[in-house]
C-alpha cells in the first residue's frame, strides 16, 4: 500500500434544505478524511449518520453545502473522474428488463468501451460473479444475491481504480457475504482502492484497513482498524497443546500477580458464528445426506480451515 491519496475531503458539509432554502437537516459536518491508494476504507455509523451522504457527495450525486471533495485530484462534480470509478449502490438499482449480458453491455457503452473490449469484459465478469448460467435471464427474475453480483459486475466493467460499495453485503446470506468480502480483498490485492460503507461491523472488521466512524454527521473516529480496536490495557494469550486445569490457572494467576496483573477470563477460544456456519455448509456439501444428530453439538469445534482470504488475514 502506498500513501498516494486517492480521495480527499476538506470540511465537506451537507445541509439539506427545503424548497424555500430553510435548513432541514445537517447530514454531514466538516468532514476531513483522506483515502489512500490500495486500501480498503470503511465508513461506519448508525443509520442516518452520514455514510451514504458522504458517498453520494463523492460521486457527485449530491452537491456539498460547504467544503470540497476531490477524487484523483479532481473535484467531485467533474464527470471525467467517473472514468476510474466503479460504484455499487446499496440496492442493486439496475434495469430489470435487461439480462446480465445486456446490462454489462449497456454500462460498457457508457464508458465508451470498444465493442470487443466490452464483450470480453462482460464475459469475464459474468463468470467471475458466478452468473454464467443465468446470463440470459432478465434481472427481474434474479434473487437479491444475484442482483448484488451483477451490480458488482457493472461496477467493475471499466476496470476501475476506485471501487465504491454502499452496503455491499446488505441482504446477502452468509455465503454471499463471504463471497463479497473475498472479492473486496481480492480487489485490494489487485491494487485497487475500495471504499465501503456498512453498518455490519463484522464485515468492516474483516476486510477494512482503515475506517472512519460517523455519528449524526460528525466524524467520531478515524484510523487503522488494528490501532483503533487495540486495548493496550489488556493482554491476550493463546496457547495450544495444553489442557486447561486448575493448576495451570493457579500458576498463571501467580505469574500475572508478580507483574501486577490479574486474570479476567480463562477458557477455550470460540470461532465466529460466520466461520462455524460456513464450515457446516461446506461439510454438508462434502457429505451428502448427513444430518443433525442430537448431542453432536457437544463435539469439539475445531478451528476453521484457513483456506480463504479472510481467514488468512486473521
Amino acid at each position: 500500500m502506498t500513501h498516494e491519496v486517492i480521495v480527499e475531503t476538506r470540511k465537506l458539509t451537507k445541509i439539506y434544505r427545503d424548497f424555500w432554502g430553510r435548513q432541514k437537516k445537517t447530514a454531514l459536518r466538516a468532514l476531513n478524511i483522506e483515502i489512500r491508494k490500495g486500501e480498503i476504507f470503511g465508513l461506519l455509523g448508525p443509520n442516518g449518520s452520514g455514510k451514504t451522504t458522504t458517498i453520494k457527495l463523492l460521486l457527485g450525486l449530491l452537491f456539498p453545502t460547504e467544503g470540497e471533495a476531490f477524487l484523483f485530484g479532481k473535484p467531485a462534480a467533474d464527470v471525467s473522474k467517473n472514468e476510474r470509478i466503479g460504484y455499487l449502490p446499496e440496492e442493486s438499482y439496475l434495469y430489470r428488463f435487461l439480462n446480465a449480458e445486456e446490462t454489462l453491455d449497456f454500462y460498457g457503452r457508457l464508458f465508451d468501451l470498444p465493442p470487443r473490449v466490452r464483450e470480453t469484459r462482460a464475459q469475464e465478469l459474468i463468470e467471475k460473479v458466478g452468473l454464467k448460467n443465468d446470463r440470459k435471464r432478465k434481472l427481474r427474475e434474479y434473487s437479491k444475491g444475484m442482483r448484488q453480483r451483477i451490480g458488482l459486475a457493472q461496477a467493475l466493467i471499466n476496470d476501475p481504480d476506485l471501487v465504491i460499495l454502499d452496503e455491499p453485503t446488505s441482504g446477502l446470506d452468509p455465503l454471499g457475504a463471504r463471497w463479497m468480502k473475498n472479492l473486496i480483498v481480492e480487489l485490494r490485492n489487485l491494487g485497487k482502492t475500495v471504499i465501503m460503507c456498512s453498518h455490519r461491523l463484522e464485515d468492516v472488521q474483516d476486510v477494512c484497513d482503515r475506517i472512519a466512524i460517523l455519528n449524526e454527521g460528525e466524524l467520531q473516529a478515524y484510523g487503522e482498524v488494528k490501532t483503533l480496536l487495540q486495548d493496550v490495557n489488556r493482554v491476550e494469550l493463546r496457547a495450544s497443546e495444553i489442557q486447561l486445569t486448575e493448576q495451570l490457572r493457579r500458576d498463571l494467576e501467580e505469574v500475572l500477580a508478580r507483574h501486577g496483573g490479574r486474570i479476567d477470563t480463562v477458557g477455550h477460544p470460540t470461532t465466529t458464528l460466520e466461520d462455524y456456519f460456513l464450515r457446516i455448509v461446506e461439510e454438508s456439501k462434502r457429505h451428502p445426506g448427513r444430518r443433525y444428530q442430537p448431542g453432536s453439538e457437544k463435539e469439539t469445534i475445531k478451528p476453521a480451515v484457513q483456506s480463504d482470504a479472510i481467514t488468512e488475514r486473521r
Binding site: 439539506y16 453520494k56 460521486l59 457527485g60 450525486l61 449530491l62 452537491f63 460547504e66 470540497e68 473535484p75 462534480a77 464527470v79 471525467s80 467517473n82 472514468e83 470509478i85 460504484y87 449502490p89 440496492e91 438499482y93 439496475l94 434495469y95 428488463f97 435487461l98 445486456e102 449497456f106 454500462y107 457503452r109 457508457l110 464508458f111 465508451d112 451490480g151 457493472q154 471499466n158
Partner: protein, 640 residues
C-alpha cells in the same frame, strides 16, 4: 367538401424566414433574459468561492459581457419604444424598426450568455453513450409492452371507417381522415406517456444513480431518452402508415380516386376582386364561414364583378407544355331556385402582361376564322390555340360549369405562358408610364348566371405543375408518407416536451403539462387573437361584464368614458400583455398538421416539410437548453 385546401392563414414560406429568425431571437432572448435574471438573483448568491473559481476566466468575461450588452440593448430598445411612441409589436405582423432591431440584439446577447455553456457541453457529448441510452429507452418501451397495447388499439381504430357512412366521392377523404385521426390520438398519447415517465421513474427507482456515476454528461440522458423514444415511435409510425395506406388504397371508388387519389402540385396566384366595394373582398352572401368571397352576374348596365388571380412567379416549365391544366372548385350560392341538373356557369379569361387593348377581339376573330372545322381537343386545335395565345397574350374559356362539391378543370395553351414569360422592354416602359406593371399572367373569372353567386378563395383556382391526369397511386402513396411526416413532427414535439419537463417534474405533472401545451397549441390561433385583442367581445373580464349586462355587442370598453369600463379594459389589457409574453411557450401545432393535404389529394412540398421541421427545431431548442440546466443543477440523489 372540396378537393381544395382551405387555410385560415398562409403556409410557411422560405421568404418569411428572416422575419421568423428575428422574432425567434426576440422571443427566446426574452426567456433567456428571465433565466439570467433568476440566475443572478437566486443561483449566484448560493455559489461558493470554489464554484466561481471553477469557471474559466474567458467564459466569465464572455458571459458578463453578453449580459451587460443585453442590458444596454434592452434599455436602448425601451427608450426607443417610448420615444417613437410605437405600440408593442404585433406578433403576427412583424416590422423591423430600430427599437425592434435593438430588441433583437438584446435577445441575441442573452441567448449567447445563456446558451454558451450548453454549446460547450455539446462538444463533450459522445454518440456511443447517447446511442446506448437511446437503445435502453427503446428496449424499455418494448419490454414493458406499452407499445403493443396501443398498437393493438390503433389497429381497431383503423377500421372505424367501416362504421362511418360516407359519400362515395369522399371515400378517400373519409379513410385518410379516420386513419390519421386514429394515429394522431393513439401515437401521440403513447409518445407522451412513455416519455413523461421515463426519467422520473429512473430517479424514483434510483437506476439513474448507476448512470450518472459513469462518465455520462447529464444532458446525454435527455438526448438518449428523446432519441430512443423518437426512434421507437418512428418505427411504429412507419409500420402503421404502411398498414393504413394499404387499408386506404383497397377498393376505392373510381370517382373518389379521380377526386383525391393523387398528389396535385398546385401553383397558386393572388386573388383580388374588381368592381366590388373592396378589392380584397367580394360580396358577402351571409355565410357564417367567411372563407370565400362571392361574385355574381350584375344586372344589365352594371359593371361585371370579377375575381382576378395574379400569377406573379410563373414557372418556366409550364411554357413548354402544349396545354396547362387549370383546376377550380367554387362554391355556389343560389338566391333563386336553379334548374335541376343544370350548373352555374363562369367565364375564364387569361391575360398576359403584354396584352394590349383590342388583342382579345383580334384573338377571337382569328380563332373563329382559322378554327372552323377543327375538332375540339384535336392536335390541330391545340396547336392553333397555342399559336394565337402566344401571339395575342390572351385566351378564354366561355361558360364553364361550376358544380358544388366537385373539382373541375380546363386547359389553357402553353403558348400563353410563353408570351407571359417573354421579355418586352418596350411594353414594360409603356406600362410603367400608366402605373404598376400587371402580373405576368392574370386570370379573370366572371359569373354568367343571373341571381346566382359563385364563392371563391385564393386556393380555389390553381395551375397543375404536375402533368399526370386522373388518379396516381404512386404519388398518392408518397404523399401519404409525407402526411405522416406531419404526425412525426407532432410526435417529436410531444416527446421533446415531455422528456424536458420530466427532468424536473414528476411523471404525472409532466404528462399533464405536455398535453396542456399541445392542446393549447391546437388553439394557438385563438390565443394569438386574444393576445392582440382581435377577438370579438373583448378580453375575458369585458366578456364577463357583457354577459352580466346582457349586451353581446357594442363599442369596445376601451372607447367608453365610464371609469368602471376603463378599469375592465385596463385589466384585460394587462391580461393580454401576460398572454403576449407567454404565447411563444405554446407550440404552433397547426403548422405540423399535413393530413388535410393527403385527404384532398394535394402534394406536400419538400420545402414545406423542411420549414415545418425547422420550426419544430426552433421551438424545441430552447426547451432542451432548459433541460440542460435543470439536469445540471439537479441533485439527483436528493429527491429519492
Amino acid at each position: 367538401m372540396f378537393a381544395v385546401i382551405t387555410f385560415d392563414r398562409e403556409p410557411l414560406r422560405v421568404e418569411d424566414l428572416p422575419a421568423g429568425i428575428v422574432q425567434w431571437t426576440q422571443s427566446v432572448g426574452g426567456f433567456a433574459t428571465i433565466g439570467l435574471i433568476l440566475f443572478f438573483l437566486v443561483a449566484l448568491p448560493r455559489w461558493r468561492p470554489q464554484d466561481y473559481a471553477a469557471v474559466p476566466g474567458w467564459l466569465k468575461t464572455f458571459f458578463l459581457s453578453c449580459c451587460g450588452l443585453s442590458a444596454l440593448f434592452y434599455i436602448a430598445a425601451g427608450i426607443g419604444f417610448l420615444t417613437s411612441g410605437a405600440d408593442e409589436p404585433d406578433p403576427e405582423k412583424f416590422v423591423l424598426t430600430t427599437p425592434n432591431l435593438l430588441l433583437t440584439l438584446a435577445g441575441a446577447c442573452s441567448i449567447l450568455a445563456a446558451g454558451l455553456p450548453f454549446i460547450l457541453n455539446l462538444f463533450r457529448e459522445r454518440f456511443r453513450r447517447i446511442y446506448a441510452l437511446a437503445k435502453l429507452s427503446f428496449k424499455e418501451a418494448i419490454r414493458r409492452r406499452v407499445i403493443y397495447a396501443f398498437s393493438g388499439m390503433l389497429l381497431v381504430f383503423l377500421f372505424a371507417s367501416w362504421f362511418i357512412p360516407s359519400w362515395h366521392k369522399d371515400q378517400v377523404r373519409t379513410y385518410v381522415g379516420v386513419v390519421f385521426l386514429a394515429m394522431n390520438a393513439l401515437l401521440l398519447f403513447t409518445a407522451a406517456l412513455l416519455s413523461s415517465f421515463s426519467i422520473p421513474s429512473d430517479i424514483k427507482q434510483q437506476t439513474i444513480h448507476t448512470i450518472v456515476t459513469k462518465p455520462v454528461e447529464r444532458f446525454e440522458i435527455v438526448l438518449g431518452r428523446f432519441f430512443g423514444f423518437l426512434a421507437l415511435m418512428t418505427l411504429v409510425l412507419v409500420a402503421m402508415t404502411g398498414i393504413s395506406l394499404l387499408y386506404v388504397l383497397r377498393g376505392i371508388h373510381p370517382e373518389a380516386a379521380a377526386e383525391s387519389l393523387k398528389a396535385r402540385v398546385p401553383y397558386y396566384g393572388d386573388l383580388l376582386f374588381e368592381n366590388t366595394d373592396d378589392p380584397r373582398k367580394g360580396t358577402n352572401v351571409g355565410r357564417e364561414w367567411e372563407y370565400r368571397d362571392y361574385i355574381t352576374r350584375p344586372m344589365p348596365g352594371q359593371p361585371a364583378q370579377t375575381a382576378r388571380w395574379d400569377f406573379v412567379n410563373l414557372p418556366a416549365s409550364l411554357a413548354n407544355r402544349p396545354e396547362v391544366r387549370c383546376e377550380y372548385t367554387f362554391d355556389v350560392y343560389r338566391t333563386t331556385k336553379g334548374e335541376e341538373g343544370k350548373d352555374v356557369y363562369c367565364t375564364f379569361r387569361f391575360y398576359s402582361w403584354r396584352f394590349r387593348k383590342g388583342d382579345d377581339e383580334a384573338f377571337r376573330k382569328e380563332r373563329e376564322e382559322r378554327g372552323k372545322g377543327l375538332i375540339e381537343g384535336s392536335a390541330e386545335e391545340i396547336a392553333l390555340n397555342n399559336e394565337l395565345a402566344e401571339k395575342y397574350g390572351f385566351f378564354e374559356r366561355d361558360s364553364r360549369p361550376v358544380t358544388d362539391y366537385r373539382t373541375l378543370s380546363l386547359t389553357i395553351p402553353g403558348g400563353l405562358i410563353k408570351n407571359a414569360l417573354q421579355a418586352d422592354p418596350e411594353r414594360e416602359s409603356e406600362l410603367k408610364l400608366l402605373g404598376p406593371v400587371p402580373a405576368p399572367l392574370q386570370c379573370r373569372v366572371t359569373c354568367d348566371s343571373y341571381t346566382q353567386y359563385v364563392g371563391m378563395a385564393k386556393r380555389d383556382l390553381y395551375f397543375r405543375l404536375d402533368e399526370r391526369e386522373g388518379s396516381d397511386r404512386v404519388r398518392f402513396a408518397i404523399n401519404f408518407f409525407k402526411g405522416a411526416f406531419g404526425l412525426w413532427l407532432q410526435m417529436a414535439l410531444i416527446i421533446g416536451l415531455a422528456v424536458v419537463l420530466s427532468t424536473y417534474l414528476n411523471g404525472v405533472i409532466s404528462l399533464l403539462i405536455t398535453m396542456i401545451l399541445f392542446f393549447g397549441g391546437l388553439g394557438r390561433e385563438f390565443v394569438a387573437e386574444v393576445a392582440v385583442g382581435k377577438n370579438e367581445g373583448g378580453g375575458p373580464l369585458e366578456a364577463m361584464v357583457r354577459i352580466t349586462r346582457r349586451e353581446l355587442s357594442g363599442a369596445s370598453f376601451s372607447e367608453s368614458t365610464s371609469i368602471s369600463d376603463q378599469i375592465v379594459s385596463g385589466t384585460d389589457e394587462a391580461f393580454r400583455w401576460v398572454v403576449r409574453r407567454i404565447i411563444d411557450v405554446i407550440p404552433d401545432v397547426d403548422r405540423f398538421e399535413m393530413s388535410n393535404y393527403v385527404a384532398e389529394g394535394f402534394d406536400i412540398s419538400w420545402t414545406q416539410m423542411g420549414l415545418s421541421g425547422l420550426l419544430l427545431f426552433a421551438y424545441l431548442a430552447p426547451w432542451f437548453v432548459l433541460a440542460f440546466y435543470l439536469m445540471r443543477w439537479r441533485e439527483i440523489a436528493s429527491s429519492t
